[in-house]
């Protein structure tokens, strides 16, 4: 019997338990017991939960334990005693045998594996059987236990609510735990990297030229400043020079000038812009904008213009961020009390004077928060810069030159044939951690500002 089949059977049993428990609880109501605490369906859910949840949990645990038990049994057999003593060889043979037991057509390299395979089949099916039996037992026991607790005054609703709450809590914990796990692995690998390259060198070094050979007493080529500069130059300077004015102006237009009709079709279009996959922007940057910019630069006499200019990536990234800035600014402007606008208009200020001198200053904290969020998004953006920004780690402020970014280099370091323990791979983790810390700080500051601002107006 496969595991899937067992799951379905248990689900079926759960359904049956639900029906019976519900019917049993329903009889209390029909028989006119004065105070039935919970609706019959709650009793049904309660019993079904008891039938299904312990059994499924057991199966999950069992499916991780059973293979180990199987291996153990195989190793106890006399055949296994003849295996080579070298741990590495043994493991190779054993894993081959296990694979063969699941798929008899497999080509094997060790004859010993062929002999061990039937043992594996036997052990695995034995433990699968034990697991299935135990799961069914738990299912029946749980169902029966719950069934006996069904009484008119039993608070099934409370119990069901509590279980639902627990389930939701678990779901949210998983996301948090995953984040913590990611951070932990980043920190772990970064520490290993810093054992090879000093943090000072990494954070302040001006040479980025990573290689696997680390010679003592020499600059290692892991100075990340050119990367940081490239990231800031593209994501926080060029992109924001595009996104802030255009986003702000579109927000002002949409909130203050556009008629309801115009807003009705313009807002969704802006939102669609936000939903375009970044790889499409990447194409656009690499194949359309970059060549155009280069020929423009050459035509105005800049001879060393790169075809992977910072300007191309930054401009396109700015366009990508516009809807984001615009919707944040839109929210902030809409949150400015109407009375402030009226106050200015009643002084005889024109609409644009009111916007310039009252609305935007009043909305500024919210707008600044939104811009910080946009920056943190821009510096973490990968696809556009991988496709359109270069790999040359130049420390230059020339927008027509090629610069590289943290995300581009992470991709560069991790793709291709590199050893997982090489300094280059570890450097990617150090870069990732740096990026993570910076964006985290930006987000915290931005959310703090936005929150303060919201409080100010209500």
């Amino acid at each position: 019997m496969t595991t899937t089949a067992i799951f379905f059977l248990i689900a079926g049993l759960g359904l049956i338990t639900w029906v019976f428990a519900r019917a049993r609880a329903g009889r209390f109501i029909q028989s006119g017991v004065a105070s039935v605490h919970s609706l019959p369906s709650y009793h049904g859910w309660y019993a079904a939960m008891w039938a299904v949840v312990p059994a499924v949990l057991f199966l999950l645990v069992w499916s991780t334990v059973a293979p180990a038990l199987g291996s153990y049994q195989v190793l106890e057999s006399p055949l296994a005693a003849q295996l080579p003593t070298d741990a590495f060889e043994r493991a190779a043979i054993l894993s081959e045998a296990r694979a063969l037991s699941r798929n008899p057509d497999l080509k094997v390299f060790n004859d010993a594996a062929v002999q061990l395979a039937p043992l594996y089949s036997a052990a695995d099916s034995r433990y699968a059987m034990i697991g299935a039996l135990a799961a069914f037992l738990l299912c029946f026991a749980g169902g029966a236990f719950a069934f006996t607790r069904i009484r008119p005054d039993f608070r099934a609703r409370t119990q069901v609510e509590r279980t639902v709450m627990l389930g939701l809590l678990l779901a949210s914990l998983i996301a948090i735990l995953a984040t913590l796990g990611i951070v932990a692995s980043l920190i772990f690998e970064t520490v290993r990297f810093f054992n090879l390259v000093s943090p000072f060198e990494f954070l302040f070094g001006l040479q980025w030229n990573p290689s696997d050979k680390i010679v003592d007493g020499q600059a290692t080529g892991f100075g990340a400043v050119p990367l940081f500069w490239g990231t800031v130059f593209i994501g926080a300077i060029i992109a924001m020079l595009v996104a802030i004015p255009l986003g702000l102006m579109s927000a002002v237009y949409l909130t203050q000038y556009a008629s309801a009709n115009v807003r009705k079709w313009m807002k969704p279009i802006l939102e669609i812009l936000a939903g375009v996959p970044t790889v499409v922007y990447g194409y656009f940057a690499a194949l359309t904008v970059a060549p155009a910019l280069r020929s423009f630069a050459v035509s105005i006499g800049i001879t060393d213009a790169s075809s992977e200019s910072a300007l191309a990536a930054g401009l396109v990234m700015g366009v990508m961020i516009i809807p984001f800035v615009s919707s944040m600014a839109d929210d902030s402007i809409a949150a400015v009390p109407g009375s402030m606008r009226d106050g200015s208009l009643a002084m005889g200020a024109t609409k644009s004077e009111t916007i310039k001198q009252v609305l935007i200053p009043a909305a500024l904290p919210g707008v600044v928060g939104g811009v910080l969020l946009a920056v943190s998004r821009a510096i973490g953006e990968t696809m556009i810069v991988v496709m359109a920004a270069g790999l040359a780690a130049n420390l230059t402020a020339n927008p027509f030159a090629s610069v590289t970014t943290v995300t581009t280099q992470i991709v560069q370091l991790l793709t291709g044939d590199t050893d997982f323990n090489s300094p280059m791979t570890l450097a990617a983790f150090a870069l990732g951690l740096t990026l993570f810390v910076v964006t985290l700080l930006l987000n915290i500051v931005a959310l703090q500002i936005v929150k303060k601002y919201r409080e100010a107006y209500d």
Binding site: D342, G343, M347, Q357
Partner: protein
């Protein structure tokens, strides 16, 4: 139209003739005529939703900012129709200032709040004159002594009553001819309210003042003329003392004695 309303007087600052206001299909003001002069503070009273604010806002065309609002009838300022195409709204609002129910200082310094109007209307050619205007306005609004040492503090950091007086200072900084006040004290405590009422007394004569209020005692204290509104019409308009002691209309009497509203 009621005959007790429209007695055209030569010295009336603003006069309205048969004014109707519509919000979309709905008519909020159903033909109101009134004269407002420089010598008397006029109070608008009436139950909630009767159209006091709506009518007040027609006097400086603030209803223009509501897309669905439509105004019919004639309103003149010094004999000039304020809804004619030759009337510049920016000029009009400089001449007819407004103070709102909830104090609404701009998120700027106290100084910049008061200087806002003079700056946009170009009233002060240099810093010294602007300083003078700011000081005079704050003095007249009775706020100078409280804020003269912290003019650069944010206007929003003041107390509610101070904020409202700042808004009045802001309104008088452009030297208007008429000041409209829509329930200026309803968000204030009794002490701050008394200060504003005192201020209204002092401003009387220099500006034509119209005040909307829900507080009968306040209307009796600050105004010389009172208009009673009900369901979009102006039921009665006359000397405040007459309205409160000897109203001509049944509905006015009922409202004043608290029988409804």
């Amino acid at each position: 139209m009621l005959d007790n309303t429209a007695t055209t007087s030569t010295k009336s600052k603003m006069s309205a003739r048969d004014v109707k206001v519509f919000y979309g299909e709905k008519q909020a003001i159903k033909g109101v005529s009134i004269d407002i002069d420089m010598d008397n503070v006029v109070a608008f009273i009436g139950p909630s939703g009767c159209g006091k604010s709506t009518f007040l806002r027609t006097l400086n065309r603030m209803n223009d900012t509501i897309p669905i609002a439509r105004v019919e009838g004639d309103i003149t300022l010094d004999g000039e129709n304020i809804y004619s195409s030759s009337m510049d709204v920016v000029q009009l609002r400089a001449r007819v200032g407004m103070v709102f129910q909830k104090p609404n200082p701009f998120p700027k310094s106290i100084y910049d709040n008061v200087a806002y109007g003079p700056r946009i209307h170009g009233l002060a050619p240099n810093k010294a004159e602007l300083d003078q205007i700011v000081e005079n306005s704050l003095v007249r609004a009775g706020l100078w002594n409280e804020v003269k040492d912290r003019l650069q503090d944010s206007g929003t950091a003041l107390s509610g009553g101070q904020q409202q007086r700042l808004c009045i200072a802001r309104a008088i900084a452009v030297d208007p001819e008429v000041i409209l006040m829509d329930e200026p004290c309803s968000a204030l405590d009794p002490i701050a309210t008394a200060k504003i009422e005192e201020l209204i007394h002092e401003l009387r004569g220099r500006y034509a003042i119209v005040i909307v209020t829900h507080n009968m005692q306040q209307a009796a204290r600050v105004s010389q003329k009172t208009a009673f509104f009900h369901l979009g019409t102006m039921v009665e308009y006359g000397d405040t003392s007459d309205i409160f002691t000897n109203p001509r209309e049944e509905r006015t009497r009922d409202y004043i004695t608290g029988r409804y509203g």
